[in-house]
């Protein structure tokens, strides 16, 4: 299947982008937005996006097939990992989810269409409307597609013309998603541009930064700081830094033969996107004192990871990523030979998965690619104490605790600074309404126009 050259990312690799090409693309996007997007209703956009989402879930959808066929070579993820990850994303694109997101972030589903007053606003003689940026630029890092696809969806919802700048070698899935939108509605596709170049190309980026009303960026703290300082003062900036996640398993849930299913959930979180995402766990803290020792849980987790490898293999790694795993394994192997405080489970003959059990509860940053630490702790409080070194950088904690303890567990984690707590097994499946790093993803994109006339009955609702 040969895709038409709709986007800059479709151009052959040898094509050189210049600032005048980028400048031209910005003008076209803005013009198309005025003609095709600015006047669209939220409902019609929701309908279009939901249809695109449904298409992607259809096994015979040509772009999905293309993504799964060429994806392993283009992204480094196996076909099954891609399928699982893409499904979990596209399942979220439903009218109900969009409705919930609009109400959550904007208070009302028609906030982007017209001036609206909620009851409380009406009482105060006020109303308001939310407006998206007319030209939105995304600086996307890494080849985990979901954050980028999510940004594109939200940008369309707020009627922005969008330029998605991908890091080199990572535009494959955003590009296919853009094609799926173009295929469904060429006019919507005409308000999107996808390009890729190695970050730091100041000539190209300067053009984008001059034109943008709002810039979103994902990446390291250094990348974010660099982008931010190159933006004109009038341009809004939304930065999402690298984060990490961990899991907590309470002793009660491992009793009564339930250990294997908890381990299976944990394995799903480790395997999803080969653990590359900021929602992927580095460490699983297991509470001691129950019927199953944390070490036994590590053994079960190893079995589950082995089973998963047979149906959803990890992607192929570069020599340096594999070497990082091999080097780390060898040191744990050495420690394990000297003390029962360390144990190691490894995929035989490959680096596909690794479980390290360490009695030392101190948080360890994993080298990822399905390399997970299991650590025993006496309580949730002890786990948090051990994770103090990463306290401000946590994105998600996946938990397996009995129902009676969920509320208290959540409150403890929230107060400690965790912006998202979810059931183990769902760490990489945040809902559309997820507040990214604790901030409303849609709510942050818009600006507001307030209307105050003191005469409540004149306002539409």
């Amino acid at each position: 299947m040969k895709l038409p050259d709709y986007f800059l990312a479709d151009l052959p690799a040898e094509a050189t982008l210049t600032s005048s090409i980028i400048s031209e693309a910005c003008l076209t996007l803005k013009r198309n937005r005025e003609r095709f997007l600015a006047g669209r209703s939220t409902q019609s956009l929701i309908q279009s996006l939901s249809q695109v989402g449904a298409s992607w879930l259809d096994p015979d959808y040509p772009l999905r097939k293309l993504a799964l066929e060429q994806g392993p070579a283009a992204t480094g993820f196996s076909r099954a990992t891609l399928a699982t990850g893409l499904d979990s994303f596209f399942r979220q694109l439903t009218p109900q989810s969009f409705q919930a997101l609009l109400e959550q972030d904007l208070g009302h589903a028609r906030r982007l269409d017209e001036v609206v007053a909620l009851d409380t606003e009406q009482q105060g003689g006020r109303a308001a409307m939310a407006l998206g940026p007319s030209f939105l630029v995304h600086i996307a890092a890494g080849n985990l597609p979901n954050p980028t696809l999510m940004s594109m969806v939200l940008g369309l919802l707020v009627r922005s013309a969008q330029f998605v700048k991908c890091a080199s070698g990572t535009s494959f899935l955003p590009r296919l998603f853009a094609h799926s939108i173009h295929q469904a509605e060429p006019k919507l596709g005409a308000c999107l541009e996808v390009a890729e170049w190695k970050g730091g190309n100041r000539d190209l980026e300067q053009v984008l930064f001059e034109e943008a009303d709002c810039v979103t960026a994902t990446g390291s703290d250094e990348t974010l700081a660099d982008v931010r300082q190159r933006l004109p003062a009038r341009t809004r900036f939304l930065g999402y830094g690298h984060r990490l996640s961990f899991a907590y398993v309470s002793s009660e849930v491992l009793g009564g033969g339930r250990g294997a299913s908890v381990a299976a959930s944990a394995a799903a979180d480790v395997a999803a996107w080969d653990q590359q995402g900021c929602l992927s766990p580095h460490v699983i803290y297991v509470e001691q004192g129950g019927r199953m020792a944390p070490e036994q849980f590590a053994d079960l987790l190893a079995r589950e990871l082995a089973a998963r490898e047979s149906v959803e293999p990890r992607g192929e790694l570069s020599a340096s990523a594999a070497a990082a795993i091999a080097s780390r394994r060898s040191i744990y192997e050495l420690r394990a030979a000297h003390s029962p405080d360390t144990r190691l489970w490894c995929s035989p003959g490959s680096t596909a998965w690794t479980v390290v059990y360490e009695a030392d509860p101190r948080f360890q940053i994993s080298c990822l690619n399905r390399f997970i630490y299991v650590k025993p702790v006496t309580s949730l409080a002890a786990a948090l104490e051990s994770a103090d070194s990463v306290r401000t950088r946590v994105s998600t904690v996946g938990v397996a605790v009995p129902d009676a303890r969920t509320k208290e567990t959540f409150a403890t984690l929230a107060r400690w600074g965790v912006p998202r707590v979810c059931p183990l097994g769902q760490m990489q499946n945040p809902p559309l309404t997820w507040r990214h790093d604790g901030r409303p993803a849609l709510g942050e994109l818009v600006t507001w126009a307030d209307y105050e006339n003191g005469v409540a009955e004149n306002l539409s609702i």
Binding site: G142, H242, G277, S320, A323, S327, R335, A337, C367
Partner: protein
């Protein structure tokens, strides 16, 4: 130590390699003999071998000898030397801080180390040199640096005049170069007309070039002069590429790029690899850049295998893997050492790519720096 001491005996057999007489005891046999000896006298190594299920009772080929991770020297004393007999210790980065690797030595092991250094050097180069200029601090300031000890060994053995140390320990343990002293020495040497050997890390060479260039100083070192550099320049923010570094060094010292030699060694080993071959007069440029086709090789008493990080098996020619070194000169510690360095296998040598630890990022998760 008596003649009947098994380590002494093995050491003597290894020394036969140094003089080029290897026929009596092939590498393969000595390696297995050494493995058995080290297994019995090196408790942490024995535990490791038992844990991985390979002991002298089961290992029949030197390639099966378990290699300990180089970073394991940070946590365990991989030494056959009883604590009371240890007289020196070499540490990674030359410091004794808790996170450094430690390689213990006694008089005999140190003598072997020095003999290995001299023999390895002589295989590649044509000493003596009229003058040896060393850009690192002297041993009195860096007693735990195996590199400094190696430079001292070379300087003592191969310099007609007393070697000159132009480095010093700066604040915070940073190695500094006395560029004025080095410049004077180079000037004198250039005028005297005898071949000069300049020994340093990539960083100290870079510091020297920078300082000399700032004063507009360039030299034309006499024919036969050589610059030896080792180690990366980790920790610096702005670094030239290796090609650029070699060009600058060549310009500054007035020697061809082919007279610049890379050395690969570490405190956990007792032998060094050089990126020139004795057979090819090192001095013929292989490519226009002069460094593109270089490969590291160990002397005959050391062997590097480039192993796949996935399978642990040796990779094919031209493929990338981790460097695993079998060094017979490590008689008193562990012969087989697994490094974290990535390299491309080139015949019986390798092209070094660098340290593996910082795997490149693909996703948005936070990784260790």
């Amino acid at each position: 130590m008596s003649q009947r001491d098994p380590f002494f005996k093995l050491g003597e057999q290894v020394r036969e390699f140094f003089s080029g007489d290897a026929a009596a005891n092939p590498f393969e046999d000595l390696a297995l003999e050494m493995f058995a000896l080290q297994f019995h006298h090196n408790a942490p190594y024995r535990r490791y071998c038992e844990a991985v299920g390979r002991t002298p009772a089961t290992v029949t080929d030197w390639r099966q000898v378990p290699a300990v991770p180089a970073s394991g020297f940070k946590e365990f004393d991989f030494s056959c030397i009883p604590a009371s007999r240890r007289s020196a210790v070499f540490c990674s980065s030359g410091t004794t801080r808790a996170t450094a690797s430690r390689h213990h030595h006694c008089a005999e092991s140190l003598a072997l180390y020095e003999a290995s250094v001299r023999a390895g050097f002589e295989r590649h180069f044509r000493p003596p040199f009229d003058c040896v200029l060393i850009l690192t601090p002297p041993p009195s300031q860096a007693p735990h640096s195996s590199l400094v000890h190696m430079f001292e060994t070379i300087g003592r053995a191969f310099s007609r005049r007393q070697a000159v140390w132009a480095g010093r320990m700066g604040p915070g343990g940073v190695w500094e170069v006395d560029a004025r002293l080095a410049g004077q020495q180079l000037e004198t040497a250039a005028a005297a007309g005898g071949a000069v050997l300049v020994l340093g890390t990539a960083l100290t060479h870079l510091d020297l070039i920078t300082a000399l260039e700032a004063q507009g100083m360039h030299f034309k070192l006499p024919p036969g002069s050589l610059a030896l550099e080792t180690g990366g320049y980790k920790g610096r923010t702005r670094n030239p590429s290796k090609t650029e570094f070699y060009r600058q060094l060549s310009d500054c010292l007035g020697i061809p790029q082919t007279s610049i030699v890379g050395e690969y060694g570490m405190c956990e080993l007792s032998s060094q690899a050089y990126d020139v071959r004795p057979a090819v007069p090192a001095f013929a440029p292989a490519t226009e850049a002069g460094i593109g086709e270089r490969r590291f090789t160990f002397p005959p008493w050391g062997r590097a295998r480039i192993v796949s990080p996935e399978t642990g098996e040796e990779v094919g020619d031209g493929r990338t893997g981790l460097v695993r070194v079998y060094d017979l000169a490590n008689v008193y510690s562990v012969m087989a050492v697994q490094t974290e360095d990535l390299a491309v296998r080139r015949g019986d040598g390798f092209e070094l790519l660098g340290r593996a630890a910082g795997a490149e990022r693909r996703g948005c998760s936070l990784l260790a720096a």
